[in-house]
């Protein structure tokens, strides 16, 4: 995988799609994201991303709100 293309999730603008590459975080956080479907390899769409505060992600057919700190630790690639 080419790491140069990775960017934090929070940098996606509204409507952009990307593939989740990895999550920087402990076991608990990974589990929690994973049960919501946020696993490496999954395709996500940015639904709402303002200049501050949390973001809303589209994943499969659901919408998930993530704190901005969290969104900074999730890395994705645009293809």
């Amino acid at each position: 995988m080419n790491n140069c293309n990775m960017l934090p999730l929070s940098k996606l603008s509204i409507g952009e799609e990307a593939k989740l590459v990895n999550v920087q975080g402990g076991h608990g956080i990974k589990q929690r994201l994973s049960v919501l479907g946020l696993n490496p390899g999954v395709r996500v769409t940015m639904v709402q991303n303002g200049s501050w505060g949390p973001v809303i992600l589209g994943i499969m057919d659901s919408r998930i709100a993530l704190g901005r700190g969290m969104a900074n630790k999730i890395f994705v690639t645009k293809d």
């Binding site: 076991h27 929690r32 994973s34 303002g50 505060g53 949390p54 809303i56 057919d61 919408r63």
Partner: protein
């Protein structure tokens, strides 16, 4: 032939689980707590043909890991109580996500029946689901239904009873984790078979144990850890984990979770037909306005204002009626009973004390009504989203905002509203600072004292007290976060359910459930507190109620040295003491102590000679902070489930109130304001 079976309801949050539960059990419900934790346990009964059915509502979860108490409860119940049937409620409009839990239930060897709920929503989003095919793929009976319209309930019960009857024949589909993982599972299973412990093997299949050990599941690791012959098993497990890590280049847990999703999405692709790609669903369109950076906050504030108005303005009418009814009852008792100590007990103690809580009922029920509407419509999750950025800066969670705001009306429902917070530390932290939100019962005290001492600046002075409460809440929140709750904050990760119009039945049931449960829990504490205060005011016998000669008066003199630094005398001490029952009583008590009864004008005159503007302000600061009222203390005890935190809430309030009001009085005196 009569028989009894037990059904457990499992499902994701927002899958309509509660609605299904309500449909099945109707009014035959019982709400309690799961042993040892403050997670709600709901049970109910119903009858289908000749079968009596006990229904247990498991906590709503996305998975069955050892990550949260809710998930552990659900898992333990399925494994240990072995319900005859587990009904897995699956949101058809969100099939793939919901099926993840199903795969885990399948792995627990539960006897599953799937309730495929929200078929109408799925349809409106353009999905057609082939339930027949899905049932074949999973080898599990499936009942399509629309719980919000009570469609499919009878069919579901029939399937559950049937499944319970041929319970032994169930063998749901097993997920294949790929050759490499399956090989290692086989190795671990062999090591498990060599173990001596029957206890563990009786509860779980050796495949499940192997899988959980590979997944690094803490509960299973702990269970193995206490065994004497764990050595060879543990080394097999770590070898397997290392081996798989080499092959896949990442954690085994992720591989396993990945495979489950693979299985789930395989099922999804097979059974879902999309009739139209609806990328911008209606919910997204609503969200574009409601969670927008610019419009989100004003709309949120407006909705909160509306909720507040509904709870406290509309609630003021029934509150008034109850108030009249309570005082009518008092007059009746006064007229009918001879003047004895027990009349006084009933009047001043029971009617006065319990009445003080009963008048809060309309507010409490209305608040729960509002909260239910906000939750059921899907807006509550958005509210947390909107406030998260700001609240984070204060060391709090986005979901803490609504309870804190509600605190301005009444602390009791506010504390109960903290239930929407998932993490226990966030919940306790929020509960601890809610009493600093100046509730409406404190207003009469401010009104009286500002009328006496700051007639020209009444508004400004009262506003400054509210502001002081907010500033203190922020400071204390940060302080507690830095000292008591140093665990990192749980970051905001929540699902935003699609917007839904709440059903009247569901909303009313939610409201009733929470309100009546509250009453059941607090009445004993409130009654006991009211009687103690009454006793102090009445005895030794023969004294006037709450006069200087009563125990309360004597107590006032004893605590006078304590309240003196903040510029109060023994009367101030007694008034604060009695204010513990309900803060508005402070005013009534002052009326008694200064011998003016209910005549406020006379009381104002008397106060002007007994206090100074500075001591009055210090007294108001003390009233704001000093101690949550009796009903609030009862609510804190109930919600934290801990006397330690309850006492802490009371203790820190007293300390903070004393320090601040003394500071106000002493510094003011230095500047010659006394």
């Amino acid at each position: 032939m009569e028989k009894t079976i037990t059904i457990a309801l499992a499902g994701n949050p927002n899958s309509g689980k509660t609605t299904v539960f309500n449909n099945i059990t109707g009014a035959h419900q019982h709400v309690g707590n799961w042993a040892g934790v403050t997670v709600e346990k709901k049970e109910g009964k119903c009858k289908y043909n000749e079968t009596d059915i006990n229904v247990v509502d498991l906590p709503g979860t996305y998975s069955l890991t050892a990550y949260s108490p809710e998930e552990l409860i659900a898992r333990d119940f399925v494994v240990e109580e072995k319900p005859d049937v587990v009904i897995d409620i699956v949101d058809a409009s969100n099939l793939e996500r919901n099926l993840y839990l199903t795969t885990q239930l399948m792995e627990l060897d539960a006897n599953i029946v799937i309730a495929l709920n929200m078929m109408d929503v799925a349809e409106s989003r353009g999905f057609v689901i082939d339930a027949q095919k899905m049932s074949e793929m999973l080898s599990v009976p499936i009942v399509p239904m629309i719980a919000s319209k009570n469609k499919g309930t009878q069919e579901l019960l029939r399937a559950a009873v049937e499944s319970a009857t041929n319970g032994s024949s169930h063998n749901s589909k097993r997920i294949h984790y790929g050759r490499e993982v399956e090989d290692e599972l086989g190795n671990i299973q062999k090591a498990i078979d060599k173990l001596d412990s029957d206890e563990l093997k009786r509860k779980y299949s050796s495949r499940l144990i192997s899988l959980k050990l590979l997944e690094n599941d803490q509960e299973f690791i702990d269970a193995i850890d206490i065994l004497d012959d764990k050595q060879s098993l543990m080394s097999t497990v770590s070898e397997s984990i290392e081996h798989l890590k080499e092959i896949f280049g990442c954690d085994v847990e992720s591989v396993i979770v990945d495979r489950r999703y693979g299985f789930v999405s395989g099922v999804g692709t097979e059974v879902i037909k999309r009739t139209g790609e609806e990328r911008h669903t209606r919910s997204d369109q609503i969200d574009r306005v409601l969670t927008n950076t610019f419009t989100g906050v004003p709309i949120f504030l407006f909705l909160m204002w509306l909720a507040f108005q509904l709870t406290f303005k509309v609630g003021a009418y029934p509150t008034d009626w109850i108030d009249h009814a309570v005082s009518g009852l008092s007059h009746l008792i006064e007229a009918l009973m001879p003047e004895t100590w027990y009349r006084s007990l009933i009047l001043d103690g029971i009617v006065g004390g319990v009445g003080g809580v009963i008048v809060l009922l309309p507010n409490i029920f209305l608040l729960f009504f509002v909260i239910s509407v906000l939750e059921d419509s899907g807006y509550m999750a958005r509210a947390a989203f909107i406030m998260d950025g700001l609240m984070h800066k204060l060391g709090l969670h986005g979901k803490s905002f609504i309870p804190m705001l509600m605190g301005f009306g009444c602390n009791v429902p506010a504390i109960m509203a903290t239930r929407t917070l998932e993490s226990r530390t966030d919940r306790i932290l929020t509960i601890l600072i809610i009493p600093l939100m100046s509730c409406s019962a404190r207003l009469p005290v401010y009104a009286l004292l500002t009328a006496a001492f700051f007639p020209k600046y009444a508004g400004t002075v009262i506003f400054s007290l509210y502001l002081l409460g907010i500033v203190l809440a922020i400071l204390m929140g940060r302080l507690f976060r830095k000292t008591l709750f140093r665990t990192p904050m749980v970051p905001l990760i929540i699902e935003l359910p699609p917007y839904r119009i709440p059903t009247i039945k569901g909303t009313l049931i939610h409201m009733w459930e929470r309100g009546s449960q509250f009453l059941k829990k607090v009445w004993t504490i409130v009654l006991a507190g009211a009687i103690i205060i009454w006793f102090l005011g009445t005895f030794p016998s023969g004294v006037d109620y709450a006069s200087e000669a009563s125990y309360a008066g004597k107590l006032g003199h004893i605590i006078e040295p304590v309240v003196a630094p903040l510029g109060a005398d023994w009367r101030g001490g007694v008034a604060l003491l009695f204010g513990f029952v309900a803060k508005e009583i402070v005013v009534a008590t002052m009326g008694v102590l200064y011998g003016t009864g209910e005549n406020q004008e006379m009381l104002v005159e008397k106060l002007q000679t007994a206090m100074t503007p500075l001591s009055a302000f210090a007294f108001m600061v003390a009233t704001l902070i000093y101690m949550p009222c009796l009903a609030t203390v009862a609510a804190i005890k109930k919600e934290t489930n801990s006397w330690r935190w309850t006492l802490f809430a009371v203790g820190y309030g007293l300390a903070l109130a004393w320090i601040l009001s003394t500071l106000v009085y002493q510094v003011g005196s230095l500047f010659g304001l006394a």
